[in-house]
């Protein structure tokens, strides 16, 4: 099944409440996906800095002295903010790829969840409420965010199988459905040098979008491409540094509801997820059309 929630704020005064609103939406979707949960938050940006969110199953050992070790490896300043099994490393802009390579050497078991100017991704196995609590998602502010509650079908219930997936700078994707041509597409993308780290079908969807955008496509064009090149069922909700997009496959059997007001654009797998948003009574509420790309930019 799986549940998706997304919130793209137009009204800056709501930004401090983004995490709080998204957490409520996420918990409402628990019975669509009690296995694991995840959230991508587009938060604050520091000039000239890049953020890497990393995850480890043994966080105490992995994060102890990591900032110092990475600073030494990169010969630059690095700061670290540890949140449960995740940590956000702050490195100078342009050092992202170098940092990623160094981390693979320094902490081989650690996973990079996301990298970018504003994106942070937190995901773990467990009930959505517990996952949100562990990372204090309620306390997070930001411009937009996407959350996912997972009921696994295509790969195991693990942290790396949880959504969102990020395969490019400040990009993320969540998925409700199942892709049937992900194995062949994974091989094709990997041959083209795209980094894909799991056996999960959704990661291939995310990597496909990254690959399209690397080849000059806009987010909208990349989403259009999914309708041609991906086989299977999908509702995708995607985020970029300043954008938010939605696309459903032509069969459109996975549920989706959207709402828009002057203050926000919201996505929910069900209307239940949206009922407590401010001004929802007067919002434009609609079901996104099949095979139609929707996106918004700041």
């Amino acid at each position: 099944m799986c549940g998706i929630v997304g919130l793209f704020l137009k009204d800056k005064t709501l930004e401090p409440k983004l995490g709080d609103m998204l957490t409520d939406m996420l918990i409402t979707m628990t019975d669509r996906g009690p296995d694991s949960a995840g959230i991508a938050i587009y938060g604050s940006e520091a000039d000239g800095r890049t953020k890497l969110t990393v995850q480890s199953d043994a966080p105490d050992a992995a994060f102890d002295g990591l900032d110092g070790a990475l600073a030494e490896a990169l010969s630059t300043d690095v700061s670290i903010r540890v949140i449960d099994t995740h940590a956000v490393l702050d490195v100078p802009a342009g050092k992202g790829e170098e940092a990623r390579a160094a981390l693979a050497e320094l902490r081989p078991g650690m996973r990079v969840m996301s990298a970018g100017d504003t994106i942070e991704i937190y995901k773990e196995v467990g009930l959505p409420e517990k996952v949100a609590e562990r990372f204090n998602v309620r306390g997070m502010s930001g411009t937009h965010g996407i959350g996912h509650t997972r009921m696994a079908t295509e790969s195991a219930v693990t942290t790396e199988g949880a959504h969102p997936f990020s395969t490019g700078s400040d990009q993320c994707l969540v998925h409700n459905g199942s892709l049937s041509n992900h194995n062949s597409l994974r091989r094709k993308l990997q041959r083209d040098g795209v980094r894909i780290e799991s056996q999960n079908d959704t990661e291939v969807g995310a990597a496909y979008l990254t690959w399209k955008m690397q080849h000059g496509a806009t987010l909208g064009e990349a989403l259009e491409g999914t309708l041609e090149d991906l086989d299977g069922f999908f509702n995708f909700v995607v985020g970029t540094k300043d954008g938010f997009g939605v696309v459903r496959d032509p069969i459109a059997c996975k549920p989706a509801v959207m709402a828009e007001t002057d203050q926000y654009v919201a996505f929910g797998s069900e209307y239940r997820a949206l009922v407590n948003l401010p001004g929802i009574e007067d919002a434009r509420v609609w079901e996104p059309e099949p095979a139609t790309v929707y996106f918004w930019n700041h």
Binding site: P250, E270, Y271, V275, V285, E287, P290
Partner: protein, 227 residues
């Protein structure tokens, strides 16, 4: 009039209270407040009770309805009035996918739009949609009438049996074995009655009728190679 706060008192209490009336001729009126998109509101009713839902609902509202009148003052999620046997379900807003699926009887009125698979496998239900409908509507429809004041999406009536489809606007495409048919006086009469009962402001003469070409559901020896 009895008012039930769904958020405060829960779904099971509501459905068991409404189902307690089953078998009676009790025409009481109920109002359900704070539905907040909940699933399975007012399902399995079998009495002439009148239920008004003050807001939008989730999956399977008014499923398996018999006799009751359920009015939703909002939009509904997937599967509204699924497998309805009799009675009336009125949706003031839009309906998500497979509205009225497998319905055997009764009247389903959707004042907004219905999305994909509306009336899939309909078996005698009458459905009137004031707006548009999505793709694959009335797939394998066996009996009943689907009336659409707006436009229909792709593959209307695919593999249908004897259900009738009346569309006032455009039809994006017809499904396999579904064709446009002549509108005869008896069809005008059926449509007139349905439009009146659904409170729809439209003239029967503005509609086109579609239905089965009856080529698909009989064995045809010329197709033997394909089986």
């Amino acid at each position: 009039m009895q008012t039930y706060d769904l958020e405060a008192n829960g779904l099971r209490g509501l459905n068991s209270a409404l189902q307690e009336l089953n078998g009676s001729s009790n025409k009481t009126a109920w109002e359900i407040v704070n539905p907040k998109g909940s699933h399975a509101i007012a399902v399995g009713l079998n009495s002439p009770v009148e239920v008004t839902v003050k807001g939008s609902t989730g999956y399977y509202c008014a499923g398996m309805n018999q006799q009751a009148t359920v009015r939703v003052e909002g939009s509904v999620g997937p599967g509204v009035a699924e497998n309805m046997m009799s009675g009336t379900v009125i949706v003031e807003g839009d309906a998500s996918q497979y509205a009225g699926a497998t319905g055997h009887g009764g009247l389903l009125v959707i004042k907004g739009n219905a999305s994909s698979r509306c009336g899939i496998s309909m078996k005698g239900i009458d459905i009137v949609v004031h707006g548009n409908i999505g793709h694959m509507c009335a797939f394998m429809g066996q009996a009943g009438n689907l009336v659409v004041l707006g436009d229909a999406g792709d593959a209307l009536g695919d593999s249908c049996y004897e259900a009738r489809f009346f569309v006032r606007g455009s039809v994006k495409s017809l499904g396999a074995d579904c064709i446009e048919k002549e509108m005869r006086p008896e069809h005008i009469e059926i449509l007139k009655d349905l439009l009146a009962r659904a409170g729809a402001d439209a003239k029967p003469e503005e509609f086109k009728r579609y239905g089965s070409a009856r080529q698909l559901y009989n064995f045809d020896v010329d197709n033997a190679q394909a089986y």
